[in-house]
Subunit: 197 residues, 4 copies
Amino acid sequence: MSAPPSAPRRRSERSRRAIYDAALSLVGEIGYPRTTIEGIAARAGVGKQTIYRWWSSKADVLLEAFLDLGDGPAPPALPDTGDLAADLKAVLRATVDTLRDPRFDTPARALAAEGVVDAELGRRVVAQLLQPSLQLYVDRLRAAQRAGDVRPGIDPRIALELFVSPLAQRWLQHTAPFSYEYTDTLVDYALYGLVPR
Amino acid sequence: MSAPPSAPRRRSERSRRAIYDAALSLVGEIGYPRTTIEGIAARAGVGKQTIYRWWSSKADVLLEAFLDLGDGPAPPALPDTGDLAADLKAVLRATVDTLRDPRFDTPARALAAEGVVDAELGRRVVAQLLQPSLQLYVDRLRAAQRAGDVRPGIDPRIALELFVSPLAQRWLQHTAPFSYEYTDTLVDYALYGLVPR
Amino acid sequence: MSAPPSAPRRRSERSRRAIYDAALSLVGEIGYPRTTIEGIAARAGVGKQTIYRWWSSKADVLLEAFLDLGDGPAPPALPDTGDLAADLKAVLRATVDTLRDPRFDTPARALAAEGVVDAELGRRVVAQLLQPSLQLYVDRLRAAQRAGDVRPGIDPRIALELFVSPLAQRWLQHTAPFSYEYTDTLVDYALYGLVPR
Amino acid sequence: MSAPPSAPRRRSERSRRAIYDAALSLVGEIGYPRTTIEGIAARAGVGKQTIYRWWSSKADVLLEAFLDLGDGPAPPALPDTGDLAADLKAVLRATVDTLRDPRFDTPARALAAEGVVDAELGRRVVAQLLQPSLQLYVDRLRAAQRAGDVRPGIDPRIALELFVSPLAQRWLQHTAPFSYEYTDTLVDYALYGLVPR
DNA sequence: AGGTAATCGAGACGGTACGTCTTGTCTTACC
DNA sequence: GGTAAGACAAGACGTACCGTCTCGATTACCT
């Protein structure tokens, strides 16, 4: 619970931040594929070896840089007004806004793509980037189950995919201009099903 | 109304096939990132220029090679036994099998990843690879609507995402060993909703 | 002595001229190394095969094009005013002028360079381009010998090199701005020798 | 005034030598035109970039490799036995031997050819390869002038061309099998002139 | 007056080399 | 010992030409 034991003893904090900044700004400016480790090192004013010493790949740098962005404010719980549909719709609308922000979109998209092909990275992206957010849905759905608003047998881990995955899919595959109306519809369909009641 | 005037005049069919074969086999053997245009050309016994003449990128070659695989047998319609849930479950189970086949998985995954980052390619992947299959779901759902098995107001194009997107998501992000049980569950949740009936 | 037996029977005169023009103009514009057979064919409006059918190399085309330029006016004999020194100085001054003309300089220089490395081409360049001019010096020197102006034992074939080779050397190796004064000096040195008389 | 500031800081001596060796041996084996930078790099066990980093062209590499060969033994002065004709004949005979040595002939010829077409390289070839040798002739001729063996008004820089340029010319243009007899004749002609004494 | 065969333009083809770019390792000198 | 700097071996990139080949479409000769 104390300090990490074998952690780098004289690692330069200054370089670490400069590398994060360079990586994120380059990805934003020229895109992920044209961002190179050499480019990051040059912009960060850092030797290449300093990058290779602490990270294993370009994607690795970007993932940590991206995670570093989100540090600080603890992820807030989903709202619970008692109205499950309304709460989910509100959160998904906020998600739509986030996905539309290029500062988020470009690096997140790059990491998602890399994770599709590189299984190891994919696992880390899911675990460190997605999991925390998804857990909030699980929590909210369990609360709804306790309140009798969701059928008891339902597995929340699967249930949340009914509205989260379609949205993610549309985002990743440029299938959409996704709208509030779309996410609202997803929530309605998922909650009340497709067959006549 | 005579012969096409500006169509490529004497393109070598032999080379085209050899390039498709080389691209697919290399992606299967060493993975997409380590597959190079030079490698494809070498294995196909073809000059690099012949590839650059007809395709614009490695992904482009792979997409066409992959599409070429599926040519021939027209995509069959979804079964319609009258039992919507059973029909969907059967089709999704077949999809699970396909996604598990490495001959399909590796190139499809690579194309999906590339499409995430390259919007233009993404559009083509969706339009040429995904759309035809998705249309079959739309057709089946419309038939179900006419039979009164699906609520009239439901948009089939959105409805299908409730079970297709979660499956795709789990496949792409290595989130799951996805099972028949999982896809069955997806169908049940999607059809009957999450809230108590 | 009749018509050449296996000579090309239906060769296109139009193409031949166009190829000569294209070769010479390209060499003049972009230099010999950057002149390509493809470029010549394109500018001449000719298929590449038409060039390969009749010539064996880029240098071959240029040599024939260059020879073709000089066709027509028979090479005039050297003047013989009775004053050998004056006659030689006059001819060498004219040669200086020719070598300074870029229309002559660029292709001739390219052919000379190619001939240095390619022995077979070198022989042809010497035989077809140089020999005729050199023969004129031989003739003039022989006449001078008959007139008693040159020692009887002198080999004219070697003697002419005393003033021709230095000039050629300075031209080829950019050693000079060569001047009339220089060529005059060469003639004086060569005729009267270096040692005190 | 301390260490050279902008000098190449850590150039690999090992690579430099390997590149020289590879260049010279390849030119000797397959000739200059078929020698490629890729081939030199491969034989030297060196990355292409290492060549491009330090040299600007194939000819540049070869020139330096060739100069490197001659480093070490300072070029000796021409002999001065008091007999100018004999001294010149002896030196030219030695030159004939050198020009006949394929280890010298092939690269020197290639450099000469390249220098004919590339003015900048030509200047360097002349200055670094030829000039030092020619200066020896100038020195010897000046000594002869002081001894009264050469007319006072003669410019040694031009005078030496009377026998050196013809020899060079015959060498470069394959005009001759040049012999000791030929060079002896050149010296005689040049020293005593062509006109009757 | 056709028939036919060589020549033509066009340009795709299998190759090779180009000169550039990036990778990941390494070495040097500074701090 | 970590660092900035950057040389290094390796090798893919996309381009340019090479010399060969295959297409029709003219030709010009020869029945």
